[in-house]
């Protein structure tokens, strides 16, 4: 079997790539996708530890994280669509006023 530290290392690499995506990309949709990548990296660590300790609690937590990610994607994409309709842009540098 593969040691659990390999899985944690892979999860860390994916998390760092997601964080870099959030910091580097300017498109709001791509920033959202990077956040999803970070959530997936955390999920992978959860499942690896659930497997290592032989308990199901980690997998249940992944279930909840997937649910929250679905809710977050729905609301976030609706926000992006609403902002695009008022600003005609997805660039996070241009969204610098709270007033719509």
């Amino acid at each position: 079997m593969v040691p659990v530290s390999y899985y944690v290392g892979l999860s860390a690499i994916l998390f760092i790539l997601g964080a870099l995506g959030v910091l580097l990309r300017r498109n709001a949709i791509l920033i959202f996708m990077s956040v999803e990548l970070m959530l997936n990296a955390a999920n992978l660590a959860f499942v690896a530890f659930a497997r290592a300790y032989g308990t199901l609690n980690g997998q249940i937590f992944v279930f909840f994280v997937i649910t929250v990610a679905a809710a977050e994607a729905a609301v976030g994409l609706a926000l992006i669509v609403a902002i695009f309709h008022s600003k005609q842009s997805n660039d996070v540098d241009e969204i610098n006023k709270i007033k719509g």
């Binding site: 995506g21 997937i66 992006i80």
Partner: protein
């Protein structure tokens, strides 16, 4: 090198490569498709880690529902990202520096602290009960131990659904309000009693 380790390494290379490709691709549609590939490889990792239910949920919810939603929005708003100059010129080098710092931190923690982690050895692979991570086992834990969080999740989904509908409905509501105002302005003019001037009767002399 065992077959397990070989499979892990190949899948890890695919996962990291697809994540990097998502990061650097200019077209948002390509980025979404690379992210779907990444989610699929992570689902295979879940299968390797004795979590078949989570793997199927990953495929259906993440690679299916969420990414289709993303693709819908990308198609709706246009996928091409036009390059404008960033308002903060030092942001990209600082971001890469911070990412490298985070990577160094994680590697340090993994090297120094991984002795405390339980190793997945051959004996532990067989020690997991049959059906571990399947729908029945997950359901038993979910509906006994985690019933309240499960119900709270349903409220969260309801709120998210209402929020999404309200956010995208706003424009139509504004248009309807405008139509109502113009109706209010025009209708009284139509229905107001028209004062017809009395026909001038020539005075009889």
């Amino acid at each position: 090198m065992t077959a397990d380790l070989l499979l892990f390494l190949v899948l890890a290379v695919v996962a990291v490569a697809s994540a990097v490709a998502m990061l650097v691709s200019r077209n948002a549609v390509y980025a979404a498709i690379f992210l779907i590939l990444n989610f699929s490889t992570i689902a295979i990792f879940y299968l390797l880690l004795a979590a078949p239910f989570i793997a199927m949920a990953q495929i259906t919810v993440y690679a299916g529902a969420i990414m289709v939603l993303f693709l819908f929005v990308i198609m709706l708003l246009g996928g091409q990202t036009h390059h404008t100059r960033s308002f903060i010129p030092w942001q990209a080098p600082l971001a890469i520096l911070l990412g490298v710092a985070l990577a160094v931190e994680v590697i340090y923690v993994l090297i120094t602290g991984s002795s405390g982690l339980p190793a997945l050895t051959g004996t532990q692979a067989t020690s997991v009960a049959p059906g571990f991570g399947g729908p029945q086992a997950i359901g038993e834990v979910l509906f006994n131990q985690y019933l309240l969080p499960f119900e709270v999740t349903s409220i969260l989904l309801l709120v998210a659904m209402i929020g999404a509908i309200v956010l995208t409905q706003k424009e139509k509501e504004r248009e309807r309000e405008q139509i109502r105002q113009t109706m209010d302005q025009t209708i009284p003019e139509i229905h107001a009693p028209v004062e017809t001037p009395e026909p001038e009767v020539p005075e009889k002399v």
